[in-house]
Each structure stands twice: as C-alpha cells, then as structure tokens.
C-alpha cells in the first residue's frame, strides 16, 4: 500500500501555480494514484500569498495539507518558502526559486524583507535547494515560465518517467506557449 504523499506549491498570486499543479496532477494520475489537488482562486490571485495542495496515494480523503504534513514544498519565491516552512514534515524537502518579490508592507517600508532565508531554513536542518528559476525562464523565452522551470527541477526528485511529464506538458500548456515551456522544463531538469 502506497502511503499518502503531500506536495505543496506556494508562491505569489499570478505566478502560475495553477498551471504547475495541473501538470503535476496529470503526471500523478497517469502513474495510477488517487490524486487530490486543492487550489486558490479569487481574491488572493491578485498578488497575494497563494498555495496549492497536491496529495496522492492509494486513497486520499482530505485535499488540504496542514502544518507538519508536506513531504515536498515547491516555492516560487523565497519569502513564501519561509512562510510555509511550518507545513513541512520532519525530513521533508524544499525546492525554492531564489527570486524575491516584495510584499506590500516591504514596498511601503514598514517592514523589511528578511535576509538569508534559504540559509536560515537550511540551518534548521531542512533539505532546501534554491535555484534562480527566473533567469532560466527568461533564458527559455519568458519570465512567466518560472512555474515550468520548477516543474522541470521537481521532475528529477519526484522520479516519474520523463514521457509522463512531456505528455502532461502537451495536455496542460496552451499550444502557443508550448515551445517556450518545453525549453523551460528542460532547463529546470538540467539545473
């Protein structure tokens, strides 16, 4: 019996976490798991902190992931990795984009963007990998492909056959953006 695994995608509204969760869900489904994906629509999509929960295994009940329950957190932005750190299970893994996007309290100068977050998380004994997904996305042809760069990176850790990922890209990414996204995926996978 496969135990339930929990993956979180966290980021800033508008960064394309929804597309990433579609891709991941598609891959997990073709691997034969029961899958649940819980998304955020509405207000938070306007630049707020957003989270998507993905759970898979033999039989999934609750679609949400709570503090101390995530096996993997994929963060689209560094501050969000720190915000959602409590959701990581002991021995879990974080993959984060090193990009920093200032939230409104920082923009207005009432709060500081805390420094060295990745290092501080690592100092807690957490397995965290940071990559510059924005630069890779720009290299692939669009700063908006950060989501797919991160999918490329996770495809190595998650360990499903590459064809399943390619099929998921074909099925989830709009046709006119497919080329850029395939490039972004490849760059993420190599990173």
């Amino acid at each position: 019996m496969a135990e339930t695994k929990a993956i979180m995608l966290v980021g800033v509204g508008g960064q394309g976490t929804l597309l990433a969760s579609r891709i991941l869900g598609n891959v997990l489904l073709s691997a034969g798991y029961d899958v649940k994906v819980s998304e955020v629509h509405g207000m938070s999509q306007r630049g707020g902190s957003v989270v998507t929960y993905i759970k898979y295994g033999d039989k999934i009940f609750s679609p949400v992931i709570e503090k101390g329950e995530a096996d993997i957190i994929i963060s689209f932005e560094e501050l969000e990795a720190a915000r959602w750190l409590p959701y990581l299970k002991k021995g879990g893994k974080i993959i984060t984009n090193s990009q920093q996007i200032n939230p409104m309290p920082v923009i207005m100068g009432v709060q500081e963007y805390p420094g060295s977050l990745t290092e501080k998380i690592r100092a807690k004994g957490v397995d965290i990998t940071a990559i510059d997904a924005l630069t890779l996305a720009e290299k692939a042809g669009s700063s908006r492909a950060v989501n797919v760069v991160l999918m490329g990176l996770i495809s190595k850790t998650a360990g499903f056959p590459e064809e399943a990922w390619q099929k998921a890209l074909d099925e989830c990414v709009p046709k006119k953006a497919i080329e850029i996204n395939k490039k972004a995926f490849a760059l993420g996978r190599e990173a």
């Binding site: 994906v37 819980s38 998304e39 630049g47 609750s62 101390g68 969000e80 920082v106 100068g109 957490v126």
Partner: protein, 576 residues
C-alpha cells in the same frame, strides 16, 4: 474515461450528462467555474449565459424549467440572498423540467465578505439540499438532483464549499441523456396568488415529509462502520477531514442530503456507537436536528462555528494529538492581495485619498483600494450598497457631506444592483457623486464578460449597456466620462462634481490591465541620478515599484508601462 476535475468542473459535467439545456449564473467565488466550464459545451445542447445578477439568473432558470427543460443557475453563498426571493416561491410552484440551483459557501472567507451557511436558506425555503464531498460526488449528486427535482416537484439546491469547488479529484465520464417535458398551462400550479399558494403550502409540507422518508434510505446518506467507540455524523468537506483524521478508529454517518435530514437513520447510527460527535463546518444545523430528535451529540461545544476545519483540527479536538513542525524566528511580512501593476482603479483611489473624502465602497477588485497605502474607503457591505448607502449617508448628514463624499462601484456591480440605488439618488434627491469604475470586465472573479462590455459568455458580440445614457435616463443630468489613468483629469472631475449642486455620475473608463485586448507599453525605468528619494511614486502603491538602495526601482517583470507613476515624480526620474 476518467480524469482529474475541479469540483466546479465536475458539476458542469454533471449538468451536461443530465441533459441540462439552460444555464444562467452570476459569477462569484467559489462558484464561478461551474458556469465557465458549462460554457465550454456545445451551446446548441447546453446553453449558458452570465446574467446581470443572481435574482435574474434564478428567475431565468425557473422560466426554463416551466418550459419543460432541465435548467440550472449557480452563485456564491451571498448570491443566494439576492436570489432568495424567486427561490422561496419556486419552492411552491415546483418544476416542470428539473431545476437545480448550486450555491457555494466560502468557509474561511477566502474571497467573501461574510461566512453565512446557506443550509439556512434550504431550511427557510423548504427545498432539498445535496452536498457532495469531492468531485466524483459533485457530478453524481448533480445528476441525482435532477431526478429528485422532477420526482418530488421541487427545486433542488446543490451546496458546495470552497474546498470541494476548488479541489480536483478523479471523475468518471458518462454520456449525456436529454430529458424533456411538454409545456401545458397550469395556473393553479404556476400562479402564486394567495388562493393558489395556500393549498401549495400544504403540498410543500407534505413534500418535506416524503423527502424525509427518502432521506432515510437514499444512497446520498451513507453509513461506514468501523470502530464503534466513536461515531461521527458529518457532511461535505468535513467528512474528508474526519475520515483522514480518524481513519478506522471511528464510524461515520456521511450525510449527502443536508436538508431535510433523516430521523431513523441518525437514531440507528447513534445507537450503534459509544460517543457521538457531529462534525459540521459553520452552523449547528445537524446538531440542532439531533437534539430535536432526542439525541445529545458533542458538537459546537467542542468545534468552532468559524472558518474551515481540517484533519489536524479534528485530530487535536477529538484525539488530543498535535503535529510537530519547524518555524523560523524571523517575522515574515504578510503578503496581502494588491491591485495589479497598471490597474485602472489605482489613480482613482490615490485621488480620493488625496482629497480626503468619505468613500462609500463596494465589492470588486477596487475594494483593494481600502488597503494600505491607498486606504481610501470607509464602508463596504454588499454589492450595490455603495450607491444606496451614500444616499442614506448624505440624507442623514443633511447635505453636510454632499461635497466631500463619493460612492465607488465597478461596472459589473453597478449593473448587478447599483442602478436601483442611483434611481433612489435621483428620485429622492441627494447631491451624491457616484464613481462608476468601468474597467470593461468583471475583474475580481476572474474576468467574466458582463452586460456593459458588449460581449457575452462565449465572447461573441452582444448588446452593451450605454452607461451614460442609462444614468441620464434615471434622472441624473451631470454624467461625465474620464480617463482614470490621468491624475490631473481625475482630480479635477471629482472636485467639480463634488462642488456641483446636483447628483452626478463620473464614469472612470479604462480597461483592466489583465485583459488580453489591452496593449501595454514596455516597462518604465527610474533614472537613479534624477531620483531624489522623495518616495512620491510609492504613494500609489504599485507593486512594481520599490525602494532599492535608497532609490526607486521598477520591477520590469511586473511593470506594464501604464505611466501613472511618472505623473507622481516631480523630477522626471521615471521614463518610458
């Protein structure tokens, strides 16, 4: 075939398979995607539309049901307040073709102004209500709802929650089967005058008795027996949380039909377990029912009325077990939602803040104008309340505030329920100033076309409400259109209309920055030598601008070149 589907997508699939022919809705998170997905089916089989508001949507669906076709409308929880009037009486007329109304509650208020429990409307209108717990059930329950509707001659409410509507799980697809009935005139059934409604009320009460009988054995309500030490009566998303939290350490009575509730089924279940809990989010409806039938379950004395539950919450409450986790010592700044870079609403709220006026607010993207640094809003209640509320405010203040108070309302919200408030301003005369923020779209709920933008749900050309002519027609003489991207023009117009001795409307017209049809300029740049670090540009709260090493800097992945910030800089430091 099977696939992953959002709960909302699965409802749309259910509509299609049930042979529904008419769908009319007003958007509202978390219900919006049902109708968006419905509109992806062939419109000759299943026609969809965005109505101006929920009352119209519900009435249109009732009309389609009279015609003998299976019909549907969807809305968020507060939308059902707007549609309550037709629903409560459609409960008396009953249906010809099956009629299902979906309502999505927002436990946790992810995107809502209150957390009302729409089961109360099912009780109030005496209409059966079904509540699925995952996408598979969303589809199955939708189809079953049509059978119940036609069998018991009643509208049926399908209740969703944010978690069920916005979670994807596996759904099996089946074929569509069309069901149609002939129309025959039947005044005693369909004309609700007192003479006809009195006997109908008796029918409604009889119907409820029959529905209770149905609930006793319906496949919608399911018992899962494991360990009998703990028994849990639950519904909707809470079932999933309980099932995950307690696994086979408890037995479950999962209620898929949440109105009316069974009696014998619940009593029998209660008799088989040692400790009985009712796990339901929001109000204590199942619990109260249990007490009414002589049971004494543990309910709201242990579980909250507020927000969403989760497996962790239930594990902690019932078993006293907590999860462990890591945390940084740093204070993590919050990341609230903000108006997009280039949002057409930004200039209006900057101006209102600068003028220091009272702002009677409304609901939409522009409600974000209430947040720092703009903070230019005094009140927000429900859709349309900005316009009607300003009138009351101005009357009560005996005209004292007419020169320093405005209402702000989006185009979709104005059509939804602002027009009647404006009629009241003209008719009962206050010199109120109303700003219609016309961004040519229903932004907040994810960009739906609306009656003011000239496109229907399919993106095809449609009649567009002429807002200027409409305002004139209801009796407002002072109506003007401005470009809110021009700060000087915006300020001058607002000052002039506030000073005028007449009611007025300013239509602030500039499309939403996220529309594909909008052409953007390349990102603007700050000349670091010219920047005097005065932070004037920061006052508009554009997420693309921040101070880096003491000087303003524009994030070129966010900036859409709207040019608002250049109007703030006295030193010409921000350039195209």
């Amino acid at each position: 075939m099977a696939g992953l589907m959002l709960g909302n997508q699965a409802v749309a699939r259910g509509l299609y398979e049930a042979g529904v022919e008419f769908v009319s809705s007003y958007p509202g998170t978390p219900s919006t995607e049902i109708t968006e997905f419905a509109s992806t089916y062939d419109k000759n089989e299943m026609y969809s539309e965005w109505a101006p508001n929920e009352k119209v949507a519900c009435e249109a669906a009732i009309g389609a049901s009279f015609a003998g076709r299976r019909s549907f409308c969807a809305m968020k929880h507060v939308g059902l307040n707007v549609a309550a009037d037709p629903l409560y009486t459609a409960s008396y007329t009953g249906v010809n073709g099956g009629f299902v109304l979906a309502v999505a509650d927002d436990q946790g208020m992810h995107s809502s102004q209150n957390e009302q429990d729409s089961r109360n409307h099912a009780i109030g209108s005496k209409v059966p209500m079904l509540e699925p717990s995952d996408s598979g059930e969303c589809k199955e329950f939708t189809k079953l709802a049509y059978e119940i509707s036609e069998q018991f001659d009643t509208p049926v409410i399908l209740r969703l929650s944010t978690r069920v509507a916005h979670s994807q799980s596996i759904v099996e697809l089946e074929d569509r089967k069309t069901v149609r009935y002939d129309y025959t005139k039947n005044p005693r059934k369909n004309i609700m005058t007192p003479a006809n409604a009195k006997p109908k009320h008796i029918v409604v009460e009889e119907r409820t008795k029959k529905l209770v009988e149905y609930a006793e054995t319906s496949p919608l309500n399911r018992v899962e027996m494991f360990d009998t030490e703990i028994g849990i009566i639950t519904n909707g998303a809470a079932y999933q949380y309980a099932r995950e939290a307690l696994g086979e350490k408890a037995s479950y009575l999962k209620l898929g039909m949440v109105n009316p509730l069974p009696v014998k089924l619940i009593k029998d279940f209660a008799a088989k377990v040692k400790k009985l809990y009712v796990v339901e989010e929001l109000d204590d409806i199942i619990e109260t029912h249990c007490r009414k039938i002589g049971l004494d379950p543990i309910g709201k004395e242990l579980f909250t009325f507020i927000g969403e539950y989760s497996q962790t919450y239930l594990r902690e409450k019932i078993l006293g077990v907590k999860n462990e986790y890591e945390q940084l010592d740093d204070v993590i700044p919050i990341r609230p939602p903000v108006m997009c870079a280039g949002c057409p609403h930004r200039g209006v709220f900057y101006t209102l803040k600068k003028l220091g006026v009272f702002v009677s607010g409304d609901i939409g993207c522009y409600t974000l104008g209430s947040a720092a640094p703009l903070e230019a809003m005094d009140t927000t209640v429900c859709m349309g309340a900005s316009v009607s509320g300003l009138h009351g405010f101005n009357k009560a203040m005996r005209g004292e505030y007419e020169g320093k108070a405005v209402a702000v309302i989006g185009d979709s919200t104005f059509i939804h329920s602002g027009i009647t408030g404006l009629i009241n301003i003209a008719y009962n005369r206050t010199n109120s100033t109303v700003l219609i923020l016309d961004n040519s779209i229903t932004g907040m709920t994810g960009h739906q076309n609306n009656p003011a933008n000239g496109k229907n749900i399919y993106g095809d050309p449609a009649a567009a409400v002429d807002l200027e002519a409409l305002c004139h027609a209801v009796g407002i003489d002072r109506v003007r259109v401005i470009n809110p991207g021009d700060l000087a023009e915006t300020e001058a117009a607002i000052k002039e209309e506030l000073a005028a001795d007449a009611p007025s409307v300013i239509i602030c017209r500039k499309p939403c920055a996220l529309l594909k049809t909008v052409k953007h300029k390349p990102p603007f740049k700050v000349d670091r030598d010219k920047c005097k670090s005065c932070k004037a540009c920061m006052k508009i709260g554009c997420p693309a601008i921040s101070m880096v090493d003491g000087k303003a800097q524009i994030d070129n992945t966010l900036c859409v070149g709207c040019g608002l910030c250049t109007q703030m800089c006295r030193f010409g430091a921000i350039q195209e």
